[in-house]
Amino acid sequence: MTLKIKDDKPFLRDTSKMLWDGEPAHAEVKDMSPHISFAQITSDVVNSLENPRPIYWWAIAVCVFMIAVGVACEVYQYRTGLGVSNKSNTNVWGVYIASFVFWVGVSHAGTLLSALLHLTHSDWRKSVFRYAEAMTTFALMTAGLFVLVHLGRMWQVYYVMPYPNERGVWSNFQSPLVWDMFVIGTYLTCSSIFLYTGMIPDLAVFRDNIHDGWRKKLYTFLAMGWQGTDRHWRNFRVAYLTLSVYLIILAVSGHSVVSSDFAMSQQPGFHITSFPPYFVVGALYSGNAALITVFIVLRFMFRYEQYLNMDVLRKLVRLTFALAMIWTYLHLIEMATVWYGHDTAARDQLYFKATGAYAGWWWLFNFLAIVCPWVMAFRRWQTNLPVQMVLSLLLNVGMWLERWMIVAPTLGHSHYPWTFDFDQWPSFVQWGILFASFGWFALLILIFCKVFPAVSMYELKELNYARKVEAHHALVGEPATKGAH
């Protein structure tokens, strides 16, 4: 690559120094440094397949242990009955459904970054969107597991699917759960396709750079003979754009339909009109917080400090803060409509949340999800890795509690006085399976990042080229024009 920049010195890669210090806040760090060459991007990403830090293997071990705990709990629950999870006839849903909503929520950030910001030409997304998109797929897979775990007879889950059967019986298309099955299934399929399609050029690079082993065969198969010709790129651009448009609609409709599981029921506390936007924004919020967590982990684990850099983190944190504020507004609005509404049952329900058996958790969730994100408003904390790590985890705990507070106290205080006195504390089985879900999700992410390009090489090169053109124009003194599209 001919760099039209005079001082073309190699970028310093003192990763140990960069690890936790971050870069000084005053430095004018761009989302992509023009000093990196195309070949270096390729070699960095290809090398990430081979030598992650040792902590990677420890993380894998921890994940496997977490999954083992959950599998043990699930086997116990499967053999004995759902009763061991300690739910009751009033509090029938509990942690599983809350976690289902949580994981579907986490999936939304990936779509926001990869699809919505792709349409708006937000170039800073280019280093983070690939693993975010992978998070979408894996979070949906985790959410799907919770559906199975939640069902009383999971071995007959295929009854929900409308397939031409011998019995002449169909699933009930009027049920929001069937809409869920349709929309979440579509979302999972489409996001996997989107992830794969976006990865084809990078898989071709892997195919060319790895010369033996099962990976060579895998990449050769998956790259589908991509050679980067003008015909490939031209059609790829349009197809990718179309896919991202579909994905945005799908993400919005996806969580709206999940919210209709609640909003379509007659249960006071569920039966709220503003649930769809509330859920969608809550999903983006918690998903972005999870994105920050994974950002920091991957940056360290796979030595992606140059690509997942502080400027990108700052933008990510600002985005999360904005979403948190929108979510706060919707949360307050939701309570206000109940407060000023005529539905006494719903109002009692709100009182119960704030003062009843779950009051402590409710206030904790309000603190974590509403007050904590304000830390993100301060510039000095925006690029502080330890602070952001802890904060993003806290926000995720808060948003998980939010889902749990939608499910558990609401069912514990219904229309009918008979339901009032039961408050069920989930047993170790529920907690064990929830614990395992994080291990399962993390394991999938870790394996993905080791096998597939966790950052998008070709988009990084485009960004890099644009920054080079900018730097060149800045040097030469010409007016800066847009380099890459």
Binding site: P164, N165, E166, R167, G168, V169
Partner: protein, 270 residues
């Protein structure tokens, strides 16, 4: 002398039991409170006379002479059902739907008893043309068709000395002398959680629509009159039931009630 006396008493008891089992046909089901309605119901039963009396058991309505026998046809499939809505049922209709061969304690020759009198069976004998409901008496008035009690077999075979020494009849009398029921195996074993009602099907198709009983029973059980040991001929799956229930079985053109079978899950599953 002693033996003949004893046997005649047994025959009398058997006949009485058989008659009594017809007489109490209008007994209300368990759990139903006795009420004034039941007497009226019984009277209505008498007046209608749709339950055959014992003398005319061989020529109950729906016997071979009632209407010309129509063929037992498989389900009719239209192309939409074949393509979209029940392709599996359609595919199953091609495959072998025979159930497993059930080994019975005594190889009961259905063809000898129920077969056509004019037709020679593989064993060289003709059938007797006995109505199915002569032995399976419960079919017309309860959920289950019922296996005849041992006394019913003895009741006839007591008086048929010509076959008294054949191995199967010897075995039959062994059970009788030991005072034990014959442990028949179930052939048409429906899936659990479903309760097929013989009564309504027999009442409607044999007694109301006056179809030949061979066609009605044979729709699900196959041509039992040509088998020795009965064997399941149809899948008897839910699709088999549902497809038939969707069809229109109007009694006649003036019959205004729904012509199809009940479409209510609670009818069979409860």
């Amino acid at each position: 002398m002693h033996r003949i006396f004893l046997n005649s008493i047994v025959l009398l008891v058997g006949l009485f039991a058989a008659t009594a089992s017809f007489a109490d046909s209008s007994t209300a089901h368990d759990g139903v409170a006795p009420s004034a309605g039941n007497a009226a119901a019984a009277a209505a039963v008498e007046k209608k006379g749709f339950i055959a009396d014992y003398d005319n058991i061989f020529i109950v309505k729906g016997g071979p002479e009632a209407k010309p026998t129509t063929e037992i046809k498989p389900l009719e499939w239209n192309w939409v059902d074949k393509l979209f809505y029940n392709p599996m049922g359609w595919i199953n209709s091609f495959t072998d739907q025979l159930g497993p061969e059930v080994e019975q304690p005594i190889e009961f020759p259905h063809d000898r008893h129920a077969g056509d009198p004019g037709k020679v069976n593989p064993d060289g004998k003709t059938g007797d043309g006995i109505n199915c409901m002569y032995c399976h008496t419960f079919a017309r008035r309860s959920l289950t068709a019922g296996i005849p009690p041992l006394r019913k077999c003895i009741g006839c075979h007591q008086n048929i000395p010509s076959v008294r020494d054949t191995p199967r009849i010897v075995k039959l009398f062994e059970y009788w002398d030991a005072g034990k029921p014959i442990p028949w195996k179930k052939v048409h074993d429906l899936p659990d959680y479903v309760r097929f009602n013989h009564e309504r099907h027999i009442q409607r198709f044999v007694f109301k629509q006056e179809r030949p009983y061979k066609e009605v029973c044979g729709y699900c059980h196959g041509d039992v009159a040509s088998m020795t040991v009965a064997r399941r001929q149809r899948t008897l799956s839910m699709g088999f039931c549902v497809n038939c229930h969707k069809k229109n079985h109007s009694l006649d053109s003036t019959y205004t009630k729904a012509g199809h079978g009940p479409n209510d899950c609670f009818m069979c599953h409860k």
